[in-house]
């Protein structure tokens, strides 16, 4: 069966070459993948996924011999898995700790800047909070929207698991390392967080600023609204880099993929998906 697939793939590769020659002239940086084949495995941070998906799609579209698989799992899993050699690129939404960098000889590549914003349902009248209020909400001390001028309904706090880089950045910079109530419900990724908050009028959660769209409402923190502009200018403090990590310096497909992310075309995708480019 494998032989059959391979034969097919060679045939299709030839045809695809003709197709590319005739129809389009892809941007320069994508050309660097020409002649490459094999699998690139990526996992980890979920904030990265939209950019990764588009990049992978563009590469695989023009280079059918390359397969790129993308999985989530969170930043912790990304760092761990790349360290153990389970994936070639492990994404993290926080900077890997010095201990992690040393233990796994990680090379860090930062290709975007992102904020972590608090979000509520768009119908929720409460769309500005002070740091103190935010900490009290997540600690469970404030547990009804009425206490903040909203409707008389319990606050449904959503959080992420320990492996999440988004959580660790939010916990450090927005919650001042305060408690997160055990009553909080769990979302397993940035996407899941957005869906959960968008569906529940009484929810509050936090997620990558790049993910915020009209289905959820960003909450101003101490008067600063989390969005692309405030993150870029540094006014919104709860921000972080989006990293792709490799074990040792990136080589082969991983190197080309990261270079692509840092190329003008890659940075274009970064902007398009709502993050702040680094170049």
């Amino acid at each position: 069966m494998k032989f059959f697939m391979n034969t097919l793939k060679h045939l299709s590769w030839l045809l695809a070459c003709c197709f590319i020659l005739v129809s389009s002239s892809p941007a320069e940086s994508i050309d660097s993948f020409t002649g490459e084949k094999g699998t690139l495995r990526i996992s980890g941070g979920t904030a990265h996924i939209p950019v990764m998906k588009i990049a992978a799609q563009k590469i695989m579209d023009t280079h059918p011999d390359i397969q790129i698989t993308i999985a989530g799992g969170g930043s912790g899993a990304g760092i761990k898995q790349v360290g153990e050699g389970l994936v070639q690129i492990g994404n993290s939404g926080r900077k890997a700790s010095d201990a992690e960098i040393q233990k796994y000889e990680l090379s860090l590549y930062k290709w975007a800047i992102d904020g972590v914003g608090t979000v509520v349902h768009p119908d929720n009248p409460v769309q500005a909070l002070t740091s103190q209020q935010l900490q009290d909400i997540f600690a469970g001390k404030i547990n009804n929207w009425k206490q903040l001028g909203g409707s008389d309904r319990a606050i449904n706090v959503y959080t992420r698991d320990e492996s999440s880089g988004t959580r660790s950045v939010f916990w450090k910079k927005a919650l001042a390392k305060g408690d997160i109530s055990p009553k909080a419900q769990f979302a397993s990724s940035n996407g899941a967080m957005k869906t959960a908050v968008a569906k529940n009028p009484y929810a509050i959660g936090y997620m990558s600023v790049g993910y915020i769209d009209q289905s959820v409402a960003p909450v101003s923190l101490d008067g600063v609204r989390p969005d692309l502009e405030t993150v870029k200018s540094g006014k919104y403090k709860v921000s972080r880099g989006l990293y792709s990590n490799t074990k040792g310096p990136a080589t082969g497909l991983a190197e080309k993929f990261i270079n692509y992310l840092l190329s003008p075309e890659g940075q274009n995708i970064v902007v398009q998906k709502g993050f702040v480019p680094v170049r």
């Binding site: 697939m5 097919l8 045939l11 996924i49 998906k53 695989m60 059918p64 999985a71 389970l86 869906t195």
Partner: protein, 288 residues
């Protein structure tokens, strides 16, 4: 006519209520799914904007369509059956034809446990063993299609064992005795008489096992299903699959069109499983 007491009326009222509740629950679920999903069932759902022939002949990768997930699920079914069928059928034959009663009891107990193990436990087992092997023996081994297929095989083997065993044991004694009476060895009798006679029943069980491996999500989410992979081209890499796609999209759809894709995927998976069930039912009907 019998004199129906209050108890009788109550009992039949209760039974009617229960039947009604269950039927309406199932119809609500199916109706809801059809109502929302039918409109999304079209070629675009599967192939997105890729030309159909290009996609089918692997000339172009499909993005945003369900083709990778569907092929992933089909590959999973094919591979897991490749492992499960020989082992499951062999074990079923052994249990019904060769095992002594003591052995049969011990093995029966083990297979009962095997059949009722939560699939997530099997998935965790597969994942942990893979990591262990990766760390100590095979640097090139990762959670992948092969591992998932092996775990799924483990999950469905008990079903195949049971249907094989029951099919063979329910053959009438005349059939069983004719072969040996004519001088056939046990194996010849088994191969030329018993298995062909029981084949349809066994196939019915196998098809139900296929349905089980098509729908299981817990195992594959631990052993190699990923968010994006394209049409699988190697058994040693990650893959997409329908049930995982449904689970994943339900949690994090970004917009209505993505959600509609999940409805479409749920309908397709339902059609696959329902179709397999009807096929098994049809085969079983033909036996009788």
């Amino acid at each position: 006519m019998k004199n129906h007491s209050a108890v009788d009326i109550f009992l039949s009222f209760y039974a009617w209520c229960c039947a009604f509740i269950l039927t309406s629950a199932v119809l609500t679920i199916l109706g809801y799914l059809l109502f929302h999903g039918l409109s999304s069932l079209n070629l675009d759902l599967i192939f997105a904007h890729t030309p159909v022939m290009d996609a089918l002949f692997l000339k172009k990768q499909v993005f945003g369509g369900l083709l990778p997930a569907i092929t992933g699920t089909l590959a999973l079914i094919f591979l897991s059956m490749l492992f499960a069928l020989p082992v499951g059928i062999a074990t079923g034959i052994f249990l019904s034809e060769f095992a002594r009663s003591g052995t049969r009891k011990i093995l029966g107990l083990m297979f009962d446990i095997m059949a009722s193990l939560p699939s997530i436990v099997v998935g965790l087992f597969g994942f942990a063993v893979t990591i262990f092997l990766h760390q100590h023996f095979f640097k090139q081994l990762y959670p992948c299609l092969l591992i998932s297929a092996l775990c799924l095989a483990f999950l469905v083997i008990p079903y195949i064992i049971r249907s094989t065993q029951i099919a063979l044991e329910s053959l009438p004694p005349q059939v069983r005795l004719t072969g040996p009476a004519l001088g056939a060895t046990r194996t010849q009798n088994l191969w030329y008489v018993l298995i062909p006679m029981a084949a349809k029943e066994i196939i019915g069980g196998i098809i139900l096992a296929i349905g089980r491996s098509a729908e299981d999500t817990a195992v594959i989410m631990l052993t190699g299903a990923v968010a994006t992979a394209g049409v699988p081209n190697s058994i040693f890499s990650g893959y997409e699959a329908l049930p995982f796609f449904i689970y994943y999209t339900a949690a994090e759809y970004a917009n209505t069109s993505e959600l509609m894709k999940a409805y479409g995927a749920a309908l397709i998976l339902l059609f696959i499983c329902g179709g397999l069930y009807l096929f098994a039912y049809w085969i079983k009907r033909k036996v009788r």
